[in-house]
C-alpha cells in the first residue's frame, strides 16, 4: 500500500485544487497518484439515504463517466457517494474518494472494503487531515470543498433541501465550475435540493453525455449484447418506466417464469437492476437529437 503527502505549492499538488481560496496545506494520499490529477475529474455526490432511483442514476452516470476516461470523485459516504465509486469500479475506471477524516480511518466502517477496492483499482483515497483524525460532522463541509476543488464539474444526484451535497455545489459554483443536477419528482423530499439547484441555474442532467460534452469528451461505446426475445421485450418495457415483476408479466404477456428469467438475463448483462421489488433499466435511453 502506497501512502503519500502532497504539499501546497509542491510538485504533484493538483492545480485545480490550488484554485480554491483556501486550498489544503497538505493532501494525504492512499494509493498511487500517478497522473490521476492531470486527468479530467467529475464529482458525483448526493444524499446518504438516497432512493433506489438515486442509487441507480449515481451508479450509471459514474460508470459511463469512468468508461469515457473521467476520474469520478466522491466522498465515500453511504448512498449516492458509494454508488458513484462502485459505478466507476464497475467500468474498470479510476475513482477518487475524499474523506473527512484521516486516510487510515475506515469511515464509514462498512466501506472499508470499498476503499480497498478503490485503491486496488488504481484510484486514490485522499484527505487533508492527518492520519488518525477522527471523523466529525463539522469536517464534512470542508471535505466537500476539496471534492469540488478537485473536479471540473459536479453532478448532484439527490439532495434534500439542506444537504451537504449542496455545499459541494456551492463551492463548485464559486470556482466557476459546471454544476449538474439530476431532476427528480417535485413531490420527493430527496429531490427538493436538486430541483432547486436547477431553478437557480444548474444544468439539469438528462444523460451522461451532457457532462461529457461540457468537458469536450466522447462517450465510450457500450458493448452490444445479444438478448433473447423475451429479454429484449422486457427491456423495452423497462426503458419506458421502472416496474414490478407482476406488472411486467401483464404488460409483456409473458409467463411469470419467462419474465423472471428475462430479468436475470438483463441483470447479468448489466442492463437492469432491482431494488425493493422494482426493476429498472440501468442505461439512460438515447435522446433524439
Amino acid at each position: 500500500m502506497t501512502y503519500g503527502v502532497l504539499r501546497r505549492g509542491g510538485a504533484g499538488y493538483p492545480s485545480l485544487l490550488a484554485q480554491l481560496h483556501d486550498p489544503p496545506a497538505r493532501l494525504h494520499l492512499r494509493g498511487d497518484p500517478d497522473g490521476i490529477f492531470e486527468r479530467p475529474a467529475v464529482a458525483v455526490v448526493g444524499a446518504r439515504s438516497c432512493s433506489a432511483y438515486g442509487a441507480q442514476v449515481a451508479r450509471t452516470v459514474a460508470r459511463e463517466l469512468a468508461g469515457a476516461g473521467v476520474v469520478v470523485v466522491s466522498g465515500m459516504a453511504r448512498g449516492v457517494d458509494a454508488e458513484a465509486h462502485r459505478g466507476a469500479l464497475e467500468a474498470g475506471g479510476t475513482t477518487l474518494a475524499v474523506l473527512g477524516c484521516g486516510i487510515d480511518r475506515d469511515y464509514p466502517a462498512r466501506h472499508a472494503e470499498l476503499a480497498r477496492r478503490i485503491v486496488a483499482g488504481a484510484g486514490l483515497v485522499v484527505s487533508e487531515y492527518e492520519p488518525g483524525v477522527e471523523p466529525a460532522p463539522w469536517r464534512f463541509p470542508a471535505r466537500n470543498r476539496v471534492i469540488a476543488g478537485l473536479s471540473l464539474a459536479t453532478v448532484v444526484v439527490e439532495a434534500r433541501e439542506r444537504s451537504g451535497a449542496l455545499i459541494t455545489a456551492d463551492f463548485a459554483l464559486e470556482l466557476g465550475r459546471e454544476v449538474f443536477a439530476v431532476p427528480g419528482e417535485i413531490t420527493a423530499a430527496l429531490s427538493a435540493g436538486t430541483n432547486r439547484l436547477i431553478r437557480q441555474g444548474a444544468e439539469p442532467l438528462l444523460g451522461t453525455e451532457d457532462v461529457l460534452a461540457a468537458l469536450g469528451l466522447e462517450a465510450a461505446a457500450e458493448p452490444t449484447v445479444e438478448l433473447t426475445d423475451a429479454a429484449a421485450r422486457v427491456l423495452d418495457l423497462l426503458a419506458d418506466a421502472p416496474g414490478g415483476h407482476d406488472e411486467l408479466v401483464r404488460s409483456s404477456g409473458l409467463a411469470a417464469s419467462a419474465v423472471a428469467a428475462a430479468l436475470v438475463e438483463l441483470e447479468l448483462a448489466g442492463l437492469a437492476t432491482e431494488a425493493d421489488g422494482i426493476h429498472r433499466a440501468t442505461r439512460i435511453p438515447e435522446r433524439a437529437a
Binding site: R48, S49, R78, A189, T228, A230, G244, H245, D246, E247, V249, R250, A256, S257, A258, V259, A260, A261, A262, L263, V264, E265, L268, E274, A275, D276, G277, I278
Partner: protein, 486 residues
C-alpha cells in the same frame, strides 16, 4: 384383593405400557395412588370416586392402594382415570378379572361417570397392539382413531357401560375404519388475484420442498399466500398421514370426528411463542410447532420478531428434519420435516417497498432489523422474493388458477425429481458461472440455485436444465435489500 389393568403413558411421541395395580386391604378406608403420579393423576382419585358412585357401582370401603408400574416413570395426564377405576372394580370383584386382562384401557372420567377422550389414543392403541392386547376400552370419540392402529376399539360412553361390557351384558357397536376427511379443504389459490411471481414461487416451493422467504410491506398478502401452500403440496401417503395423525393426536390437536389427517398440516405460531413451544420441550417432553408442522408447512410470520434463540433452534430441524431433546431421563427425537415459510417487512416500520408511503427508518435501524436473522438461518431459504403491493386493478381482477391445477403440476414435478431429476445442462452451467462472477455467489448459494433450477426443470418436464430455468432460479436468490448475498 389385587387386580390389574393395562394402560399406556405417553413419553414424547411413544407410548409405554403401564400396569395399574389396585390392592384392597383391611384397615381404615382410604385411597392412595403411588408410582410417580403427577398432579393430574393424583386428582384421578376424586374423579374415580365420583365416577364409580355415578355408575351405581360400589366404592369399596377398604384401604385402597393403586400402583402405576413401572414406578420410576413419571405419569402425566388424565387418561389413567378409566384403568384405575377398572382396576378398583376388578379388585372389589365387580367385574371379572379375566375379561379385564384382555383389554387395554384409556380415558378420563367425568364426575357423572361419562368417559372423555384423551390425547394420544392412536399411539396408545399401537402400543397395546404391540404388547399383544387386541382390544382397547376408550371413549367413543377416541375409537375411530384407535381403529387406525389396527386394534379393536371398544367404545364406551360411561363407566357403567364399561362395567356392563366387561360383565358380558353390553355389546358395543363395532367401529370400522374412520370415514375419509370431509371437513373444509385448505384455502385455495383461486382467491389470490394477480401476484404472478409469488404464485410461481409457491409452485416451485411445493414441487421441490424449498423453504420460502417472502419480503414486502404489510398487507400485500404474504400470509395469505403462505396459507395456500398446503393445498398444492403433494398429498400425504397413508404412511405419512398416519405419522402426522400420531403427532397431532399426542398434541391433542386432532379435530373431533376426523381422526386421519388428510392434508399436509399448516402451523403458524405467533412470534411471541417460546422456544420450547416452537421446537418442543417441557418435562414430558412435548412436541412443538416444528413437529406439528411435520410433512406440512411452518409459517413464521414476521420472522424478524421471533426471538433469536427460537430461530436458531430451528436450524437443527431444517438441517436434519428432526428435533432432538436431551433430558436426564433420555433423549427424545421428534420428526420435524417441514417446509418453512418466513415473512418479513423490508424495514421495521414496514413502509419500505410500498410506493404510497415514505419509510421513516434510519439505515442503522434497517441494518439492525435485518441483522436479527443470522446468515446461517437465511441460508436455509432457497427462494427469496419481494411481494409487492397489489394495485386496485389486480384486486378487482379475475380469480387466479385453482389450487388443484397447480397441485397436478406439483405432483408430476415431485415424481420427476425423485425418479430422474433434471441434470444441469452445459448452457445452464454457463449462466450459473456468469452469475457467480457477477453477483459474487458463495458455494452454498451456488448449490442452492442449482437445486432450485432442477425443480424448475422438473416443472417444465425436461431432462436437462435449460439456461432460462437457471436464470429463473437466479431470480429467487436473496435480493440485496434483504441483505442476504446468496
Amino acid at each position: 384383593m389385587l387386580a390389574r389393568a393395562t394402560t399406556h403413558a405417553l413419553v414424547g411421541l411413544e407410548a409405554r405400557s403401564i400396569e395399574v395395580e389396585a390392592h384392597l386391604q383391611r384397615g381404615v378406608p382410604g385411597f392412595a395412588i403411588v408410582g410417580l403420579p403427577d398432579k393430574g393423576v393424583q386428582e384421578a382419585k376424586e374423579r374415580v370416586r365420583s365416577g364409580i358412585a355415578s355408575a351405581e357401582l360400589e366404592w369399596p370401603m377398604r384401604r385402597i392402594t393403586v400402583n402405576l408400574a413401572p414406578a420410576d416413570l413419571r405419569k402425566e395426564g388424565s387418561g389413567f382415570d378409566l384403568p384405575i377405576a377398572l382396576a378398583i372394580l376388578g379388585a372389589s370383584q365387580q367385574i371379572p378379572l379375566d375379561m379385564l386382562a384382555e383389554h387395554a384401557a384409556l380415558g378420563e372420567l367425568a364426575l357423572d361417570g361419562r368417559i372423555r377422550p384423551v390425547p394420544g389414543a392412536i399411539v396408545a392403541a399401537e402400543a397395546a397392539r404391540r404388547t399383544g392386547l387386541a382390544k382397547l376400552l376408550c371413549a367413543a370419540e377416541s375409537a375411530p382413531e384407535a381403529a387406525l392402529a389396527g386394534i379393536e376399539p371398544i367404545p364406551v360412553r360411561h363407566l357403567a357401560e364399561a362395567g356392563a361390557y366387561l360383565r358380558g351384558r353390553h355389546e358395543p357397536e363395532p367401529v370400522g375404519e374412520p370415514p375419509p376427511y370431509s371437513g373444509p379443504p385448505p384455502p385455495d389459490l383461486r382467491d389470490v388475484r394477480g401476484q404472478e411471481r409469488a404464485r410461481r414461487a409457491l409452485e416451485i416451493a411445493a414441487a421441490g420442498r424449498h423453504n420460502l422467504l417472502l419480503g414486502g410491506p404489510p398487507g400485500t398478502g404474504k400470509t395469505m399466500l403462505a396459507r395456500r401452500l398446503p393445498g398444492i403440496l403433494p398429498p400425504l401417503t397413508r404412511e405419512e398421514a398416519l405419522e402426522v395423525t400420531r403427532i397431532h393426536s399426542v398434541a391433542g390437536a386432532l379435530p373431533a370426528g376426523q381422526p386421519l389427517v388428510a392434508y399436509p398440516p399448516f402451523r403458524a405460531p405467533h412470534h411471541t411463542a417460546s422456544t420450547p413451544a416452537i421446537v418442543g420441550g417441557g418435562p414430558g417432553p412435548r412436541p412443538g410447532e416444528a413437529t406439528l408442522a411435520h410433512r406440512g408447512v411452518l409459517l413464521l410470520d414476521e420472522l424478524g420478531e421471533f426471538s433469536r434463540p427460537s430461530l436458531e433452534a430451528l436450524r437443527q430441524p431444517l438441517e436434519d428434519g428432526l428435533v432432538a431433546i436431551a433430558r436426564i431421563g433420555g433423549r427424545h427425537v421428534f420428526p420435524a420435516r417441514f417446509l418453512l415459510v418466513g415473512t418479513m417487512n423490508l424495514c421495521p416500520c414496514g413502509a419500505r417497498g410500498d410506493p404510497g408511503v415514505e419509510c421513516s427508518c434510519s439505515p442503522a435501524r434497517i441494518a439492525a432489523y435485518r441483522q436479527k436473522l443470522s446468515r446461517a438461518l437465511l441460508d436455509r431459504f432457497d427462494l427469496v422474493l419481494t411481494v409487492p403491493r397489489a394495485r386496485s386493478q389486480e384486486v378487482a381482477g379475475a380469480p387466479g388458477e385453482l389450487s388443484s391445477a397447480v397441485a397436478e403440476r406439483v405432483v408430476a414435478a415431485d415424481r420427476r425429481l425423485r425418479e430422474r431429476p433434471p441434470l444441469i445442462g452445459e448452457a445452464a452451467g454457463t449462466v450459473l458461472g456468469r452469475a457467480v462472477d457477477r453477483l459474487g455467489l458463495s458455494a452454498r448459494g451456488h448449490a442452492r440455485i442449482a437445486r432450485v433450477a432442477a425443480t424448475i426443470g422438473a416443472l417444465a418436464e425436461v431432462d436437462e436444465v435449460l439456461p432460462e430455468h437457471m436464470a429463473e432460479a437466479l431470480s429467487y436468490r436473496s435480493p440485496s435489500e434483504l441483505a442476504v448475498a446468496a
